[in-house]
């Protein structure tokens, strides 16, 4: 040891705001993004506290009160084709719809990042094998792949989740691979290798911190797509099964009432639209906040 370690040096040190702190500061000044974030938060809270907010039972219908228009006393947003309270079902719908829309993106974020970062960092044959496999799945249009998978596996929440996850792994893996390849050749990674660190440690300490931002924003932008696609599967009858309250499925079952109760049957779509646009605006705000030029 050629340095004397003095305990005095462990005293508090002035700390600069980190990268994410700076991003947050910038994000806070974007009213549209904050608005979108509030809506997303409200939707999540609505899903969590559905039993406390909803005025009725989501499964219990009154066959005498079927297809009432919005504004019917006692049924603020009317009733559906089985006489169930629309407002209640829309509130409960946030649970499954958000779960179906968000979960695949997060699972794909984890798996796609793993594939992409490993391929990008190790390069060579590992990269070729992993990325060419990803390319095969990328060769399907996303809707087609999701429908084909869900169609082959059969309807249901689990199969829908698998199908959607498979759709989002390839694009995330590609983004992860390309940003990791960019970071891998930077001098600080070389310096880390020169200090004797192994691949796993370098990926954890030096690569992930620099690639997670862009990958995360990209994955966030996929949530809107995923919401539309997940509801689309349910709309086709390939996702959530009745009698579960799901916005896409509600859109499907209410289609028969399109001519008699147009406003009523458009409502679930409004919910999907609000969710999707909020996630899109939130992502746009996050992306420009993260575009820190230093």
């Amino acid at each position: 040891m050629f340095l004397a370690t003095s305990t005095k040096l462990l005293e508090p040190i002035l700390h600069s705001p980190g990268y994410w702190r700076t991003v947050w500061t910038r994000f806070r000044r974007d009213p549209v993004a904050i608005g979108a974030g509030v809506v997303v938060l409200a939707l999540i809270l609505m899903a969590i506290f559905a039993p406390l907010i909803a005025p009725q039972d989501p499964y219990q219908g009154m066959s005498l009160r079927r297809l009432r228009p919005p504004g019917t006393p006692g049924y603020l947003l009317g009733t559906d084709e089985l006489g169930r309270d629309m407002l209640t079902r829309l509130i409960y719908g946030a649970r499954i719809s958000l779960f179906m829309g968000v979960t695949p993106v997060f699972v794909a974020l984890f798996l796609g990042t793993t594939i992409g970062v490993v391929a990008g960092y190790l390069g060579g044959w590992t990269n070729t094998i992993l990325m060419r496999t990803v390319d095969v799945f990328f060769a399907f249009p996303s809707v087609l792949l999701a429908v084909a998978m869900a169609g082959a596996l059969g309807a249901g929440i689990g199969n829908g989740l698998i199908a959607l996850t498979l759709v989002f792994i390839p694009p995330i893996a590609r983004v992860a691979e390309s940003v990791t390849t960019g970071v891998r050749t930077r001098d600080f990674v070389e310096a880390a290798r020169a200090s004797g660190a192994g691949a796993f440690l370098i990926i954890r300490k030096h690569v992930l911190g620099n690639v997670m931002g862009p990958i995360f924003v990209y994955a966030m932008s996929l949530i809107a797509v995923s919401m539309i696609l997940a509801s689309g599967l349910s709309f086709l009858g390939l996702g959530v099964k009745p009698p579960e309250p799901d916005w896409g499925l509600m859109l499907n079952t209410l289609r028969t009432a399109m001519y008699t109760q147009p406003l009523l049957c458009a409502l679930p779509g409004v919910m999907i639209f609000i969710t999707s646009i909020s996630f899109n605006l939130l992502t746009d705000g996050l992306r420009s906040a993260m575009d820190v030029k230093s």
């Binding site: 060419r132 087609l144 084909a148 082959a152 809107a224 709309f235 399109m258 147009p262």
Partner: protein, 317 residues
Amino acid sequence: MVLYALKRVVFTLPILLGVAIVCFALVHLAPGDPLVSVLPPDATQSLKEQMMALYGFDRPYYEQFARWIARVVQGDLGTSIRTGRPVVLEVSKAIGNTFMLAAVATVIGFMLGTLFGFVAGYFRDTWLDKTASALSVFGVSVPHYWLGMVLVIIFAATLGWLPPTGAGPGGSEDWKWNWEHVRHLVLPAVTMSVIPMGIIARTVRALVAETLSQEFIVGLRAKGLSEFGVFQHVVKNAAPTALAVMGIQLGYLLGGSILIETVFAWPGSGLLLNDAIFQRDLPLLQGTILVLALFFVVLNLAVDVMQTALDPRIQRT
């Protein structure tokens, strides 16, 4: 350039093989008996085995795959269990209708998208930009199947201007260039055009803004180049990428038409896929997915090669 195109074609072959494997595997992922839709529920065990042997389902997977590929290469996608007609005929007819729809939608989406994109990019941070950008966010956020329903409610159910479903009068499944058929095309095509509109508008806005901020444009303006001259430069810079995005969007619409075709009962490949799934018509399902995926791969290849040819900034050998 020719070498690059050739190289791309060669690199696409393994992808095509992979796509074929996935299409083949999809059907074998399906739970239950592959013959469930043709056999009566009370079929005897021996009849079942006979049928399995007839369809070749008793062979090992790699052998089934090799036989399937060998037939596919010769243009034989098997026979639809539901209609008993060759899958190739079913698919090619349906894909014609889908192509019609997707192409018109792409053209509408491209025209509106470039318009909004140019306006937004040219008048950055003005209310025009904000309006155009809002429209493009709308385009990428709206669940298009729902938008289709809303348009049907407004223009078909309420106003009665346009027919709500179908591709032609009396359930016509063959496209003709006449007024009745065009009337049927309007709503599904406009609905579908919203997807490429949003994406193209975003792309064009970014391209225009980037080009305008570049130094050579500042220099050209300083030299007294007219605004029209600047505009020409911007178009020249934005065109290759915008056209490439348009091409890829066409591929997405071809493959992703199932939702809109279901809403409008448009007799295309999406509706065919829907039927195949719900009637468990596995040869039809496999064939439709394969053809759509092949279309997408070939289209992407063509777009990539054309973009390279058009864009002087991309140098590939």
